[in-house]
Amino acid sequence: MLATAIHERQPAVARTFATNGCVPYRCRVTERHQENDDTFTVELEPAGARSHAAFAAGQFNMLYVFGLGEIPISISGDPAQPDRLVHTTRAVGTVTRAMATLRRGDMIGVRGPFGSSWPLDDLKGKDIVLVGGGIGLAPLRPALYQLVAQRGDYGRVVLLYGARTPEDMLFRAELERWRSRFDLEIFVTVDRATGDWHGNVGLVTALIPRAPFEPQNAVALICGPEVMMRYAVQALHKRGVGPQQTYLSLERNMKCGTAMCGHCQYGPHFVCRDGPVFRMDQVQRFFGKWEV
């Protein structure tokens, strides 16, 4: 394999993404709205003839703002509606701050979708426990859309979501709507109560011990700050949800999205290609260690 001659390889043109994998396609902003003080959602449609590629829940795109740079952002929309490409992110860096000021009709560049996804098709019949922290709800939302659309195929569907304050919570209207359904279990908590908040106060991991699911038959999907994910993994493990039943979405520096530039390596994994969604036993050797 090592000595496979280049000439023996398949003609690679068909596999080349967008000519050479590094050129974005242009999209127009069809909508942009604030989710909270610093988090916003943009919807994008392709400019010109091309259409968005289908994506799977948990995947991400590289978004380019003219001249400023390109960053990886997970897709927060419905996989059943690939025409509506939706991204939710926080304005924390140069590129995202510029994106926060985009208006309808503005143009940005898109490469993707990249990476692995929440393996929902393989989890039919299972209780699904989604654990999100802060902005971590964004990459979980496509999974929720899919679970809701195929609700009959799954056991219980439980969302545990933690935000800093009630005002920081993402997708509040949708959370309320889902909460009113009898076939979804939505639990939210905040680090700090404000206003007329009468709900849970505390870490999202504290919701795990009493969440309604059957541990032997449950699969957890986790996304949030790494520290939160560590504690979530432990709390789930205590309830009997083992590494092979636990998926998490990791964040690393991603530049190319195609497992070539090397930046996002996490042990043997290229997070951009093998992740961002990993099953816990794949990354267990490193997860929770410093400076991997």
Binding site: V23, A47, Y64, Q284, K289
Partner: protein
């Protein structure tokens, strides 16, 4: 392609006729890149005449040390590898990927179709050929390929050279990557310098290699010449200055994540990135977006990058490998362990460049030996689940 080796008996080309090889390559539109001496080292650059090769030069190498010395036999390839590698030509360290221009209601991407350079790489050593195959794995082996690399790679004509000398920092024999050239070349040479003649035993590795050889005066090699060529390479294999024990290497490094030896290396490591820049398999790059002063046009550039920079792992919460220890550990672990899981091979070809060109002579073979010797062993895949 590799069949040619089996079918054809080796030929002999005399030193006096070697220029014809260069001429044939030129006539076929190749730019000939070959070793030559510059600033006290042997580098790879455009060389059009055999006379510009480093005839009569050899090198002395040690950790953080490289010197050219004369040799009196006039050999053209009587040295080992220098500070540069062929990745420079197959994947240039700095290149523009695309340009974009603002227009009325957005921007347009300007595609560039630069002509692909056709390089004949002359003097590719066994370890270097393996390194090129490793770059193939990275840039061409996945579901997305690097089209620029592919074009350069497919265009490249490879004249490999069997090593007649092993350097003090060489350890290809430990890894099975040399000193005898493996498949993947168009032509392979073994230099014979005897009292009777100065000649090259030539093996053909491809159809186009055969075409080129047809332009160069040659005769079938005599059995004695073939034996001598093999003996020279076998002798080089016996004189490797370094060794690297590969048994259980991956497991050793995976086990050693928290080994105290990394702290000790970090005291010496300059985090300057030289090892990654000279390494023929280090493939990492970064991209930079730039604009002109008017803000009307933008460009994306690709630059060689190194896991020794703090920016390499930068995300919102900061650099993920802030300490020198973590960066050295990442580099070494990638070369020798995680690469095996990624590409089913070692990421190291035993060329010794990282040892020679480390400004303070850090020696990966010694660091691995130290890890082995000091191993405290802490396999703990369950650790995270046992935290309080």
């Amino acid at each position: 392609m590799a069949d040619y080796e089996q079918l054809d008996t080796p030929s002999v080309v005399l030193r006096a006729d070697l220029q014809r090889l260069f001429d044939s390559l030129h006539a076929r539109g190749y730019e000939t890149i070959a070793p030559r001496v510059e600033n006290g080292a042997i580098i790879y650059d455009e060389v059009t005449s055999v006379d510009a090769l480093p005839a009569g030069w050899t090198d002395e190498q040690e950790g953080g040390f490289y010197r050219l010395e004369g040799r009196d036999d006039g050999a053209l390839f009587g040295y080992t590898v220098g500070p540069q590698s062929w990745k420079r030509y197959l994947s240039p360290p700095i290149r523009r990927l695309w340009q974009a221009r603002k227009n009325g209601d957005g921007f347009e991407i300007v595609h560039e179709d630069a002509p692909t350079p056709h390089y004949a790489l002359i003097g590719v050593r066994a370890c270097e050929l393996h390194a090129i195959h490793h770059l193939d794995d990275v840039y061409l082996g996945g579901s997305t390929i690097d089209a620029d690399y592919q074009q350069r790679r497919e265009a490249a004509f490879i004249v490999a050279v069997n090593c007649g000398k092993a350097g003090n920092t060489c350890f290809c024999a430990s890894l099975g990557t040399g000193p005898a050239v493996g498949p993947g070349y168009d032509l392979a040479l073994t230099e014979l310098v005897t009292e009777r003649e100065h000649a090259f035993v030539v093996t053909v590795g491809s159809e186009r290699g055969a075409d080129v050889l047809a332009d160069v005066p040659h005769r079938p090699a005599a059995p004695g010449e073939i034996d001598l060529a093999e003996a020279i390479v076998a002798e080089a294999a016996r004189h490797m200055g370094r060794t690297l024990e590969t048994t259980g290497l991956k497991e050793l490094l995976y086990r050693s994540f928290e080994h105290p030896h990394w702290d000790e290396v970090a005291e010496r490591c300059l985090t300057c990135g030289n090892c990654t820049m000279v390494c023929p398999t280090c493939f990492c790059f970064t991209v930079e977006d730039t604009t002109d002063l008017t803000g009307q046009s933008a460009e994306r550039w690709r630059r060689a990058d190194s896991c020794f920079t703090t920016a390499f792992t930068f995300i919102t919460s900061g650099s993920q490998r802030a300490s020198a220890k973590a960066r050295y550990r990442q580099w070494l672990t990638h070369k020798l362990a995680t690469w095996q899981d990624q590409f089913d091979s070692l990421g190291c070809v035993g060329c010794g460049r990282c040892i020679t060109w480390c400004p303070v002579g850090i020696d990966l073979t010694a660091e691995v030996a130290a890890l082995r010797a000091e191993e405290i062993g802490q396999p703990q895949p369950e650790a995270v689940l046992e935290m309080a």
